[in-house]
Homo-oligomer: 197 residues x 4
């Protein structure tokens, strides 16, 4: 039981506990005491490592986004060609690790936190920019000048699928989400600039 170098251990435990508790509660109305208890420590210690509850939230938000980013990057590394890269992003977005019940709920709650907390807003903006850039560059060779629009649409759709997932009772269905997103992509890429429905 080492008595030194606990900081990263404790911080990680708190971050995970924060996500779990928010996921369970389905809202940000969780007390520091709950989080700390789940992380196996006193609330005072939680405050020792993170100055405030808000800091815990932000750290958890960064954690979720980092996990997501890593998964996407990993999938991209293996993908060959633009179509494969797009599929990789979509599949990673709905992978079991990211599309877990709790994570989805926490994600959306943090999303709304961005309306209140500037730092959260910054994180959301970073996420959206990165997503737009990744999708956009993969779409360039396929959709030409429409790449930006399609990327925005696809990004919104992914967000919407998260939102719907959070509301559905029962286990997440990543496959269905992947299918929906892939169908959108397939339709958009089928051909030319015709736009009038």
């Amino acid at each position: 039981m080492p008595k030194v170098g606990m900081e990263p251990i404790r911080k990680t435990a708190l971050v995970k506990a924060t996500i779990v508790e928010i996921g369970r509660a389905g809202s940000l109305d969780v007390t520091v005491a709950q989080i700390a208890r789940r992380a196996g420590m006193s609330s005072a210690l939680a405050h020792h490592y993170f100055g405030s509850k808000e800091d815990m939230f932000l750290a958890a938000m960064r954690h979720i986004m980092t996990l997501y980013g890593a998964e996407v990057r990993g999938a991209l590394a293996l993908a060959q060609g633009p179509k494969e890269r797009l599929r990789a992003v979509i599949v990673a977005s709905f992978s079991p690790a990211n599309f877990r019940r709790e994570a989805v709920s926490a994600w959306l709650n943090f999303w709304l936190l961005a309306q209140t907390v500037p730092e959260a807003q910054r994180l959301v903006a970073v996420y959206q920019r990165r997503m737009q850039s990744t999708l956009g560059s993969a779409l360039r060779p396929l959709a030409g000048p429409r790449a930006g629009e399609v990327a925005a649409g696809l990004g919104s759709l992914i967000d919407g699928l998260y939102l719907r997932q959070a509301l559905r009772p029962g286990a997440p269905d990543g496959d269905a989400a992947v299918r929906t997103a892939m169908a959108y992509l397939a339709a958009e890429l089928r051909d030319g600039p015709d736009r009038s429905p």
Copy 2:
């Protein structure tokens, strides 16, 4: 001169005030006192008309959904043929009345409330079912067996556009949202069941 018949007036005022306050706060962390003050009455009176804060939230949620439903129904009444009907739903979804900053924020917050409060969940389910049914029946003649899938995708996309809007600083851009949704639709309807991107 005892005032009579105040009930509907007071209730409406409270419902509107609830939406405004949630919109301003960007979260459900608003006090009954704030809402009551904005509605021009004491918090005790707010409790007199609505038994609890949760009831106020639910009434506000119903209000938003009713407004939305009315707008959609109105648009549908004027629409000729399936394509027009779909466009009508989309345009109504992003009409200025529904896509106002505050309303979008309140909407999403109520959305998340459904993770916690059963009655809110029921309302969300009703909304989703109705949306799926409206879109689905309009899509039947155009997309045949894929109508259900396309409707689900379109519904998710609309939700996603709301979500993104809530996070964007600045005034809502309903037209852009309409364009994105219409592009999705155009792509999906262009033709057959090909699916491999």
Copy 3:
């Protein structure tokens, strides 16, 4: 048991309770709960009437100073001629009402509060200015150009007597304090500007 118009009653009760509690504790380390309990109400109600603990302290400080000011004014109203006026101020300063154990302790604690809280500093400054002006104008005909100095000395002495009183165990001895202050005055007024001890 009137249920309306409680505000002044409650506020007065809280102010008095604040003074008593600070007097008993001998420091500002008193909890709002203690004060509220002594005033016969919940701490939540105390916060309802005074926004914060600091506000309670400041109100109590004003109360003490107002009492003091009233006593001095009352005594001055009856005094004939400068010597009588000076005596009146001194006697009032050490009257049983002002020189009570608790009041003296509270007074000194508020005094020190002025090092931290601007509004408290302002109150102290007002007190000192008023005292200097009252003593100074009574001293003008007696001490001529030295009136200002003598007033400052007498003011300091009075403060010092309060300070010493607060530290002494046992009941306050206002008469002794009066004698000391009067002796100072007598000595200063005996005659001229000679200064070398």
Copy 4:
């Protein structure tokens, strides 16, 4: 290279840091962590050397009083005759070393601490007794039977001047304080037992 003999060094550092922090805060509301940080060590070490926060306060109080006592003794050693002795005490009381902003503030705060903590009360009593005795014996040949009274008055005045100083913004003005005290003394010593103002 195990450090030995650190105790006096650490303790002195803590005592000085305590005085500085209390002076800066203007109150006893300083944390052990603050004091320890200023003294360049952990709060755990501070507790190692002083059992408790109260002990730190008391040690700091003794330190201030010791400094004061030394300064007075030093001045007395050089003084010739009673008048010179009295002047020496007064000058030493308001010397720059004792009349520093922080020291004055700490002094007064410790003063009030005596209302709560017996040991602090004892220290105050010792100071007052010593002061009374020093002044009294110097006054005996000059004021005869009134020596005691005059000493008490002078002691109170000195305390009052400290009190006023603590409240004044800006740099301490030791010279003015000396003048006021000396004027009092001069007046009292000018002559006879006349007392009626």
